[in-house]
């Protein structure tokens, strides 16, 4: 079209791209768009905030600290006694605790995200590679081999420090204790159970033989292949509690899923009444000022109870509204004198 001359080799291309004439949208904002925009965003945020807040409020949570450092605490006796100390925590539900109920244990001041704690594991070993049973990764130190240089499986600090308190919940009906059935299946991540963690191939049909030539982590009372005496498939690296523990927490205060209450009479929830929680108290936290809790909670679409998010949305939303008000005032102040003149 514009080609009047023979295009020469040196002549730059006459395209919108090379000539910087690309069609473009230049947002021409004005106060008339910005102020209502802020109001709209603010409203939206407040809307979300309210929804989140209400959702969160409807979630029932029961939290009990059983660290036992106070003298009146039921587990006080266990703080300085031998392993497998039992203590009982009683609580009362005044109304139905809607199901499905999730049972968590919580730890505070526990640095599972400490860097060298986090890397103190051997993922190859945990994926069932027997080569790493004999020679665990150096990251596992000082829980790589025991004093006799026998490799530890599973090696590393995380595995060694596995949480080993156990809980049993009893519903007291007419003075009789009825055990609330816990569901320990599927509490770990699907990828952990199916991909990341693999048991070594059975040797002579037993898992135990596969662990030959290794020792259990120093702090463990039982080797990995005997973690769950009741369910043979819940042993080795594929033990659900082990999987949950191995998934390191983000922050020093965290809770981890212990069991779900989904079965039997309690599938719809925990009815009002008295309950007693029998705790096998093993895990020491007092030395470093840690705390142990149990948490009963039901969940919504947004997970567990979380007031923070709803409030944060409300705050930011209101801030937007306030901002738009300020802008409106400023705008009026700057604009109307001009109009008058």
């Amino acid at each position: 079209m514009m080609k009047k001359k023979e295009e020469t080799a040196n002549r730059p291309d006459n395209t919108a791209f090379t000539q910087q004439r690309l069609p473009a949208w230049q947002p021409m904002l004005s106060a008339g768009i910005v102020i209502p925009g802020f109001v709209l965003i603010g409203m939206a945020f407040i809307g979300i905030g309210v929804a989140l807040f209400i959702t969160s409020r409807n979630i029932q949570v029961l939290e009990r600290d059983y660290t036992g450092d106070e003298s009146n605490s039921p587990c006080n006796t266990c703080t300085h006694s031998s392993p497998d100390c039992n203590c009982v925590l009683n609580f009362t539900l005044s109304k139905l605790f809607e199901g499905p109920v999730f049972f968590y244990y919580g730890l505070s001041n526990y640095y599972q995200n400490y860097r060298r704690y986090g890397v103190s594991r051997d993922d190859s070993q945990l994926s069932g590679d027997v080569a790493y049973f004999k020679n665990p990764d150096s990251n596992c130190a000082p829980y790589r081999v025991d004093s006799k240089s026998v490799p530890i499986v599973p090696c590393g600090s995380i595995a060694n420090s596995m949480f080993n308190d156990t809980f049993r919940l009893y519903h007291i009906v007419n003075g009789k204790e009825m055990e609330v059935p816990f569901d320990g299946k599927g509490i770990a991540w699907w990828t952990d159970y199916n991909v990341k963690f693999r048991n070594p191939s059975l040797v002579n049909g037993t898992l135990k033989a596969a662990f030959d030539g290794t020792v259990k982590p120093i702090n463990w009372p039982k080797p990995a292949y005997e973690l769950d005496p009741t369910d043979s498939s819940n042993n080795g690296f594929l033990n659900q509690d082990f999987l949950v523990w191995m998934r390191a927490a983000a922050l020093p205060d965290f809770r981890k899923l212990y069991r779900r209450i989904t079965q039997g009479d309690y599938a719809a929830g925990l009815p009002a009444g008295n309950y007693s929680l029998k705790i096998t108290y093993n895990y020491p936290v007092l030395s470093f000022g840690g705390r142990k809790k149990i948490v009963l909670s039901n969940v919504s679409w947004m997970g567990g109870k979380n007031q923070f998010l709803g409030i944060a949305y409300l705050v930011i939303g209101s801030l937007c509204i306030v901002m738009s008000m300020v802008m409106l005032i400023v705008y009026a102040k700057f604009k109307f004198p001009d109009d008058g003149s």
């Binding site: 002549r11 860097r115 986090g118 991540w189 990828t191 947004m302 979380n306 802008m327």
Partner: protein
């Protein structure tokens, strides 16, 4: 005939650092005969005393220097050889070596150069740190791969450049020349020439070395050299062989030249200044900012390390788990390791990709310059070229434009435009001739000598001339054809003039085209063809031009026997020497004013009939004076003055020193943009001032501060105060009071020398210049041009840009922040050394106002944003440190850290940096004032940088603490946390960049979507179980992302975090909009034409009170008329100013000494 001096280039020692430079001279003249050996001649230098070889005559015996010409064996021994850094020998060879690397040195040299960049050293350090297992918080490949990429990309680029240089070197080195040996002249290549060789040169040859003229085939052993490659001037300079060699060799004339210096010793190379690596101001701020950030990071790491020490000593001993991990090491040692761990973790805030991306953007913006059709000249088919790709943003900050005049502002083409003869005005104003309705050019076919090209449009003049009715007209042109020092030569039947002054060339040429043809001259006669009749005038005396006299005259005897004195000169000089009752005086003065309005350069032409007795008396006195030894000059002056009186005015010539197209408009625009335009020229003051007016650098009512006035101002301790005082007291006149800015400084080379001696003056001069609209530096050498640039650089913080077209501008081009070379008809020297090459001066307007402004904006936005986004994501580690026992736990997965800057967030900002336009190119040109944003460094300065870092600190707080609020005491794990924060970070910085984008092309939109898509796709892929199975330690987040993305919580957190993070930015923008509702619309809505139009009108109107400008542009100073009139042309007063325009005149280098000693040699040999 031929001969030459100078040239060639290469970089000292042929090693590091310099650009390819070449200087050539085109020789004019023709070599006619072959000669024999023995070109013994006098040249000396401070460093060579050679065995005397061939005493020529007794006069030479007492000289202290000796020559060995044409003795290869002897000189070969002295040739400089270098082995590594050891050098032997005195002389360089003549091989152009502009390449830097040899196969052996490439790797070490290129690595050495690359690691001179602090950034690279920093990154190397990071890589090394990451390889130490005890502190490695990230995988080694997170930095190693980018570093290797940077190094290899830069290395390859250097290699490619070097290969190109080698190719062009070879081409130049292989040019042929003729060298003397025992068998006569044989052809050789320039690269094989060594010092002492005797060469024979032919007409129009290029000479890449310093030569000494021994002899030429022209009378007087004159030769003409064109030094376009050296100083950009196309008029010929004459060189004369030394007396002794001329006499010796004239009986059996040969035309050799003795090679005096070559290679890196040559004058121009010694004078060309060293190559300085240019850094832009933005880059300097950036580097400082980077250092600041690094210090900040180190400090943070230190504090975190202290925290770690406290944690290790207070908390972890109580925890069996943690104390076991600590092992036997003390808390202090742990803290030490943690420090380095955090250094590694925080180092992504200062990513390598910043530098790569920065370079990519620079290259692209440079390409845009070369792609621009508006900067493409159709005629010569030359596009603009960005030879340096690192200076783009500096184009948007130029405060001082220092321009060469000849060939840059002007076309170096003088046109005879108008004349006023006997009160009649002929010809049209230059403004109007471009219009198509104007009559056709004159039909000059009747004149066989006409060579066309006369841009004179008035048939009346031709009619009068041919019609014989107007004797004044004829005499006027006879005067023009007689009164000059032009040499005529027939080349292939065509008459060719060689003029030392372009003005003279134009005038004699005009006379020729109009039928008054100067045919030839001998020592004492001039042959003219007047309307076909050949007439011979006897040349009795030539009263030469000097810059004091500002006129020249010839005294001739007409064929009829009458004596006439023809005189031409500046109007003031001529008008005061006229007869009392000159009839055309008034009309002529009116014409002069008219010409001045048209910015034409005028010369008055006058005649005097001399009586025989007067001539005899005068010539007697003249011969007495000529032999006088004392006060000769004064007496001559007096004598000339006597003769040049009682003149009759013939008319006025008006010559247009043609400006390049669009120069006044461009300069006007630049001035409005706040760019100070200085003109540096080797020409004399009058010419420069004249051009200053015509190219609207000076307004008609601008007052010039010069000479004494200037000196007084500079002597006062504070020139600005005394200037304003002067204003108040009326000392400066009333005009200046009204128009504070209407002043310009005019300074000459000698004054500059004086200024250099007084340290305070430079500072005062620059301070003073800020109050003036322009500065003109006249009669400056190339070295001084550079010194002026240096002066500006030293005393202001502004960006300087030098523009020129000749080799004499090379020094200045290299000294300035930005050098622009005009690739006009002159040599390529300037372009070779420039950062940008343009075909026309007028392109500077768009280069600065559009490309420069956009580039500055884009790069500033890019840098601010880039540092913001990288710091934002890295600083999160600090806050996380407080929640993980200061253990240097990474907040993100390794792969995210590796890819965040280079993949997930790069495209949107890249497209902003490439496409962003705040206002269109047209509006940028219409509103030059907007350019000042760059000059004031408003978009990227330490404050802006601090603000960006502060903002990123805020953002990192938001990025960490909002997710923290949700994750606190939740059952969500670390990996979900990492993915959440990472997603929030990506969304936040993407949101921020969409706010920054004001110009949404389809590429911007695609980039935003693509980079987000890339984040999700590659995150999911990198977290895929399959990769984990393949390499568990490298892909340790299997399933984490899918799990997190399936959680609505992540999206709620991301939305809240991203919005909260950009809220300040959003609010600031909204508030700015509300507070300044008109701001954004101002440029778009207002009509650019209205205000500009009136301005133009005023300027036009004001031209009425123009001062007249009359001058004689002798670019060489004194003419060489004396040479013509003297018998042999070999006198002790051989033109000393001859070298004025060449590069080496004032340089202290050996070249200069050669010249001085040339003269002394002449003296002694007389």
């Amino acid at each position: 005939m031929t001969q030459s001096e100078e040239a060639l280039s290469r970089n000292p020692g042929g090693t590091l650092g310099a650009n390819l430079m070449r200087r050539w001279m085109l020789l004019k003249g023709a070599v006619q005969r072959k000669g024999q050996t023995q070109g013994g001649t006098s040249f000396s230098s401070d460093f060579s005393t050679m065995a005397k070889q061939d005493p020529m005559d007794s006069q030479n015996m007492d000289l202290s220097w000796e020559v060995r010409a044409n003795d290869r064996q002897f000189h070969k021994r002295l040739q400089r050889r270098s082995v590594l850094c050891f050098r032997k020998g005195k002389y360089a060879d003549n091989v152009v070596r502009s390449y830097k690397y040899s196969p052996l040195t490439f790797l070490p040299l290129s690595l050495y150069e690359q690691f001179q960049r602090t950034a690279n050293v920093f990154f190397l350090l990071m890589v090394i740190l990451q390889c130490v297992p005890a502190i490695s918080t990230l995988q080694w490949y997170t930095s190693m791969i980018p570093l290797l990429m940077v190094l290899s990309v830069r290395g390859l680029k250097d290699l490619a450049d070097d290969l190109a240089r080698r190719r062009s070197d070879t081409q130049i080195n292989r040019r042929p020349c003729e060298v003397l040996n025992s068998q006569g002249f044989s052809s050789a290549q320039w690269q094989d020439i060594c010092v002492g060789d005797v060469l024979r040169l032919h007409a129009d040859q290029i000479v890449p070395a310093d030569l000494l003229l021994l002899c030429s085939s022209e009378p007087h052993s004159l030769c003409y050299v064109e030094t376009a490659d050296i100083d950009g001037e196309t008029n010929l300079k004459y060189r004369q062989a030394l007396a002794i060699t001329h006499q010796e060799l004239s009986t059996d004339p040969i035309e050799p030249a003795l090679l005096a210096f070559n290679g890196s010793d040559s004058k121009i190379l010694q004078n060309c200044g060293r190559l300085v690596v240019k850094r832009t101001q933005v880059e300097i701020v950036l580097n400082r900012g980077v250092i600041g950030i690094v210090v900040f990071l180190l400090l943070s790491a230190l504090l975190l390390a202290v925290g770690s020490g406290v944690f290790e000593s207070q908390v972890s001993p109580h925890s069996e788990v943690l104390s076991a991990l600590r092992g036997d090491h003390s808390p202090a040692y742990r803290a030490f390791l943690t420090f380095w761990g955090y250094v590694i973790l925080l180092s992504p805030a200062m990513p390598m990709s910043l530098y790569i991306t920065f370079e990519v953007i620079h290259v692209f913006l440079s390409l845009l310059i070369s792609w621009d059709l508006d900067l493409y000249e159709e005629e010569s088919e030359t596009p603009a070229q960005a030879r340096s790709t690192v200076l783009n943003e500096e184009l948007g900050q130029v405060g001082y434009l220092l321009s060469d005049k000849t060939g840059t502002l002007t076309q170096n083409r003088l046109l005879f435009r108008q004349c006023c003869i006997a009160g009649f005005l002929y010809g049209a104003m230059p403004d109007t001739v471009e219009k198509p309705e104007f009559p056709q050019p004159l039909d000059l076919s009747w004149n066989p000598y006409s060579c066309g090209g006369l841009q004179f449009y008035d048939q009346r003049l031709v009619d009068r001339l041919r019609g014989q009715q107007c004797p004044e007209t004829r005499e006027f042109f006879t005067a023009l054809a007689l009164c000059h020092t032009v040499m005529a030569e027939r080349r292939e039947g065509v008459l060719v003039y060689q003029a030392a002054s372009p003005d003279e060339g134009a005038l004699v040429g005009a006379a020729r085209d109009l039928g008054c043809v100067f045919l030839s001259r001998t020592r004492d006669s001039l042959t003219l063809s007047e309307q076909g009749n050949t007439r011979q005038y006897q040349l009795l005396a030539l009263l030469d031009f000097t810059s004091q006299r500002r006129r020249m005259s010839v005294l001739v005897r007409e064929p009829e026997g009458g004596l006439k004195l023809y005189c031409k000169g500046a109007d003031i000089v001529i008008l005061e020497r006229l007869q009392q009752n000159c009839i055309h005086r008034e009309s002529t003065e009116r014409a002069l004013e008219l010409f001045a309005q048209g910015c034409l350069r005028t010369l008055c032409v006058a005649v005097r009939s001399v009586k025989e007795e007067l001539w005899e008396e005068w010539s007697q006195v003249l011969s007495q004076v000529a032999t006088a030894t004392r006060y000769r000059e004064d007496m001559l002056e007096q004598l000339y003055n006597n003769m040049e009186s009682e003149l009759t005015l013939l008319g006025v010539t008006a010559i247009e020193d043609r400006l390049q197209v669009g120069v006044p408009e461009t300069i006007n625009t630049l001035r409005q943009a706040g760019v100070k335009v200085w003109v540096l020229t080797g020409d004399k003051k009058e010419t420069a001032v004249n051009i200053g007016y015509s190219c609207s650098l000076l307004d008609p009512d601008t007052t010039l501060l010069q000479a004494e006035e200037l000196r007084q101002l500079l002597q006062s301790p504070d020139p600005e105060i005394s200037l304003s005082k002067g204003n108040e007291s009326g000392y400066w006149g009333k005009d200046r009071k009204r128009e504070g800015n209407r002043m310009a400084l005019v300074i000459t080379g000698p004054e500059l020398v004086e200024m250099e001696e007084k340290p305070d003056w430079g500072k005062r001069f620059v301070a003073l210049s800020k109050h003036c609209q322009s500065v003109l530096c006249c009669r400056v050498t190339p070295g001084q041009k550079a010194a002026v640039v240096q002066l500006v650089r030293k005393h202001t913080s502004a960006i300087t840009m030098a523009i020129g077209d000749g080799a004499n501008d090379v020094n200045m081009i290299k000294t300035a922040h930005i050098g622009v070379g005009l690739s006009g008809m002159e040599g390529s020297q300037a372009v070779q050394n420039a950062d940008y090459s343009l075909a026309q001066f007028r392109f500077v307007g768009k280069l600065l106002l559009v490309h420069g402004r956009w580039a500055y904006r884009r790069i500033c936005i890019f840098l601010r944003y880039f540092l913001y986004k990288t710091s934002t994501f890295a600083l999160v580690h600090i806050w996380f440190g407080f929640y993980n026992g200061f253990s240097a736990q990474a907040m993100y997965e390794n792969w995210f850290i590796t890819l965040y800057t280079v993949m997930y967030t790069i495209l949107p900002i890249l497209s902003v940096a490439v496409f962003d336009q705040d206002i269109s190119a047209k509006a940028s040109m219409h509103w030059p004032e907007l350019y000042q944003v760059g000059q004031r460094q408003e978009l990227f300065n330490p404050w802006q940088l601090s603000a960006a870092i502060l903002y990123s600190t805020y953002t990192s707080l938001v990025l960490f603490f909002i997710p923290l609020g949700v994750f606190h005491y939740s059952a969500l794990d670390y990996q979900t946390f990492a993915v959440t924060v990472a997603t929030a970070a990506v969304f936040t910085v993407t949101a921020e960049v969409t706010l920054q984008t004001g110009f949404w092309t389809k590429y911007n939109a695609i980039a935003v979507f693509l980079s987000l898509a890339m984040y999700f796709v590659s995150t999911v892929i990198l977290h895929s179980p399959r990769l984990h199975a393949a390499a568990p330690t490298d892909y340790y987040f299997p399933g984490a992302s899918l799990n997190a993305f399936a959680n609505p919580l992540l999206w709620l957190i991301t939305l809240l975090t991203a919005f909260t993070a950009v809220l300040p930015s959003l609010t600031a923008r909204a508030l700015a909009l509300v507070l300044n509702p008109m701001d954004t619309h101002r440029v778009h809505s207002s009509d650019p034409a209205s205000s500009r139009g009136t301005l133009e009108m005023q300027a036009r109107f004001r031209r009425g009170d123009l001062h007249r400008r009359s001058s004689y542009a002798m670019s060489q100073g004194r003419g060489f008329g004396r040479l013509i009139t003297s018998g042999v042309g070999l006198r002790s007063t051989a033109p000393q100013q001859g070298g004025e325009q060449t590069a080496g005149k004032t340089s202290p280098e050996p070249g200069h000494k050669l010249e001085q000693e040339d003269t002394s040699a002449l003296r002694t040999s007389r």
